[in-house]
Symmetry: C2
Subunit: 345 residues, 2 copies
């Protein structure tokens, strides 16, 4: 299985995040990608290739033009405003009774207008890295579509699944899975499924396709009543309008281990059998791991192998896209366990 990765993805290097009312060392850091890359190479998963540049058009198919313009111009504006902080955090949001439009002109208003949390810093190279990450997703999709590969691994960083049509958050700036799904549809595919196995609900991906039947979104994750992102990912969310029935969530209790998880996974697999997608995209987070510093599931490293093996039995063309996972030391092992489990099954 080929891995797609660009060193440009490492240029997004957050220093801190805001959590519990404190500045804490960031957990979504470049070494996450580095250790996965190293493990891919050590375990000889397959060739590592650099992404092609797909330009901005595939980003515009998912994200609002004003959001992309904001991301593109943000850091220059931050500097032009004389801000000295080495990374930017939003601090006020247009929640209920407040208006997202008209879009503010003030830079802190813009930050809040286009975000969902206070834990996702933007630095000078954030958007450059996010675009490289999206190109990795697109290139992996192209390898599966045109390259005669039954599967490919997009080593994406920053991740994507919390990012919505017009907001960043949850360490995500471009929705890599959504961008790749739409690109495959635009290339002629009829039905795409996205299976999100990150510990956190993929709220951005769900919202982007919520009213559409051409993308089936399935997510297994910690119950949002007890875990970030807190405000989406409930069982009663099943799509709307033409998309009714094409979203499925399995919110699972804190402390879930592989045994319980795999039962929900079997259900998700039955949905995939019924839907018969042309391609399956897997939003692959490794934060279900028992040692993950911000998560509360109980996967062992071997459970990730089982996950890969189970996905192989679907018999679908698959694009794996990296999402979260913050136990950096074990991240390479856990990630490559999925991919190698898949490859060897």
């Amino acid at each position: 299985m080929k891995t797609v990765f660009s060193p440009v993805e490492l240029k997004h290097a957050p220093k801190n995040e805001i959590a519990d009312g404190q500045l804490r060392p960031a957990v979504e850091i470049p070494s996450r990608a580095e250790i996965v890359l190293r493990t891919v190479q050590e375990r000889a998963l397959g060739e590592v290739v650099e992404p092609l540049d797909f330009g901005s058009q595939p980003l515009h198919r998912i994200h609002a033009a004003d959001y992309l313009a904001f991301m593109e111009s943000f850091w220059d504006r931050w500097i032009a405003e004389g801000r000295t902080a080495e990374e930017a955090f939003p601090y006020v949001w247009p929640i209920r009774s407040l208006r997202a439009d008209p879009v503010p002109e003030h830079i802190d208003g813009l930050l809040g207008r286009y975000s969902m949390d206070a834990g996702t810093p933007i630095g000078p190279f954030t958007f450059e890295a996010a675009k490289a990450s999206a190109n990795a997703a697109l290139t992996a999709a192209q390898l599966v579509k045109d390259g005669g590969e039954g599967s490919a691994f997009a080593l994406c960083r920053p991740p994507g699944h919390h990012c919505g049509k017009d907001f960043f958050g949850g360490y995500c700036f471009l929705n890599n899975a959504a961008i790749a799904a739409q690109w495959l549809l635009d290339q002629g595919a009829h039905r795409i499924a996205i299976l999100d196995v990150d510990y956190h609900h993929g709220n951005g991906t769900q919202a982007i396709f919520y009213d559409r039947p051409d993308v089936l979104f399935l997510s297994l994750h910690a119950d949002p009543r007890h875990e970030y992102p807190h405000f989406l990912g409930h069982e009663d969310e099943t799509g709307e309008k033409a998309g009714t029935g094409f979203t499925r969530n399995w919110p699972l209790p804190l402390g879930t281990g592989w045994e319980t998880y795999s039962e929900a996974l079997e259900e998700a697999c039955r949905w995939l059998h019924v839907y018969k997608p042309d391609y399956l995209l897997v939003s692959l987070g490794m934060d279900c791991y028992r040692e993950d510093p911000i998560s509360k599931f109980r996967f062992n490293s071997e459970d990730f192998t089982s996950l890969g093996q189970r996905l192989k039995r679907l018999g679908l063309p698959i694009v794996f896209l990296m999402e979260g996972g913050y136990a950096v030391d074990a991240l390479g092992t856990n990630c490559v366990n999925v991919l190698d489990g898949f490859k060897r099954a």
Copy 2:
């Protein structure tokens, strides 16, 4: 003119706030109330009285029961969860495409569910102080209604006008002006006007009464395109449903001085003449002052006297309620200038 103040209001003592992605020393601090109290006494504005306790019923007339239960129980939960931070900040919000309901059970989910910004810390005595502040507002209203006083000053702290039906933010936890307005209506008044002269738009007050004709909301403030709260306070917001026409905003450019401001104030006074309220509540912020550390208008201290003089000419029973103003050294002078200007005009 009597002043209503409780020392309990001082118990909310924030240490930091989050702005520009940094923890900064809080600006909404107890000494704000202390200097105003001292100046009221030095300049012999009138008797200072302690608020009566109106209980929780008047709070329930404005705020959602679940929000009040959250505020009441929050700090005990924070401690029970083993949190060690000495004040709590939210960090994720239910913006568009995310759901405010179901309400999360996780304490950080709750914080985000019930707030609008990351700059408003909750500490152990925050809600106790907020209730004392609301009681000060209610007591001042009662002095004007029953006490034979044509005017009274509620020395409220924390302030209230950013706080909505079910969210805190902008240093505000209970909407003192809204609570006092509703109480006056419940006591038999037919029409209340709220004039908000704080530098920032009173988004909470506006939203609470947006569909009602029995409370006229008028606000002069810095244009939200360029200033906090960024997401409400535009000129095109004029009320909805039965409240259509009963909200008026004058968003003013950064750098506005008294000359420009007073033209907008004249317009607001014309609305008050037409509406003929039984009582006028003035949300009195002093952050239009040229030296205010977080604001960008250009009032001199004498302009606050002019403001008080102009309000006297309305000939209405008035309850003044303190809102913002962060140039602490001048806050007492500027505040009492309004009140003394009113009293002596």
